[in-house]
Symmetry: C2
Subunit: 169 residues, 2 copies
């Protein structure tokens, strides 16, 4: 339809805008988004900056490292809390494996999970501004596992904006 | 001195170049450079990309992570061996410390050493192109400790261009 008058065009455009918003609110979550939060694995995360390593005891028995995007790393360096919107943290986890080349060392074995925290206070008002995603082989795990994220972070690290990892020197 | 003729300027410039080279060859190693190799802690390394974590068993009992500059990371991603000149790897080591917030986790305690490998086949022809530096509190450790680097890397990882760490997925 080609509007005959500017007034009709404006009305038409507003109507289109309303339809577009409606579609955005009801469109399905992106592919491979986490349940509850709709978090996806962020593109390019493997080249993000290093925050800190950690080890998880058996039975998981993992070596882990957390990387962050520039907004998150900048907040860590400045000691900014809460983390600003746009901060993203990604934890990479691997089975801990005996090095075959150096007896005292254990090194990454198979990759197990990639875990993501996204700060967006408008999108996640009910979880202190954080959205969570836990992925195995690039696919989000089930809703039951995602239901455990928030309560554990709230119970243990409320005073660090619900983030466990500190910046390693 | 202001040269009177272009020919004199050229001669003067060549002479200056020769003097500059002579100075470069005889000037003392930079401050806080490692013995044997003259390796220093590279500026900005803490923001370099993440290669892999590791754990070192007691008595050192450390969590470690290796970061790399873009040349090294690019070589890892492409599987380029030997690493090209200009590759730099930095290992950050921390005492392994029990998390006070999450029982199964151990996290970085005090920083212990920063260890650097620099690939420069012209500068380090006698050590397979690698220069080594081990630093505590920003200061290089003694010559005796640096004498151990090469033999351990040669004994264990000759087939990976003398580099222990593999790129974690």
């Amino acid at each position: 339809m080609k509007p005959a008058l500017p007034g009709i065009f404006v009305t038409s455009a507003l109507a289109f805008g309303a339809v577009a918003s409606f579609c955005a609110a009801t469109q399905p979550a992106p592919e491979n988004a986490s349940p509850i939060y709709g978090v996806t694995i962020p593109e390019g995360y493997r080249d993000w900056k290093f925050i800190a390593p950690a080890q998880e005891a058996p039975p998981l028995d993992e070596l882990r490292s957390v990387l962050g995007n520039d907004i998150a790393v900048d907040a860590y360096k400045k000691g900014t809390l809460p983390f600003p919107d746009g901060s993203i943290l990604v934890k990479l986890a691997y089975k801990r494996s005996q090095s075959t080349e150096f007896a005292p060392a254990t090194v990454p074995g198979a990759a197990t999970t990639v875990q993501v925290m996204v700060k967006d206070s408008k999108k996640y008002p009910d979880s202190h501004g954080w959205g969570f995603g836990r992925f195995v082989n690039g696919k989000p795990v089930d809703i039951a596992q995602h239901e455990t994220c928030l309560s554990c972070h709230v119970s243990n690290v409320e005073d660090h904006d619900y983030v466990f990892t500190r910046y390693a020197p």
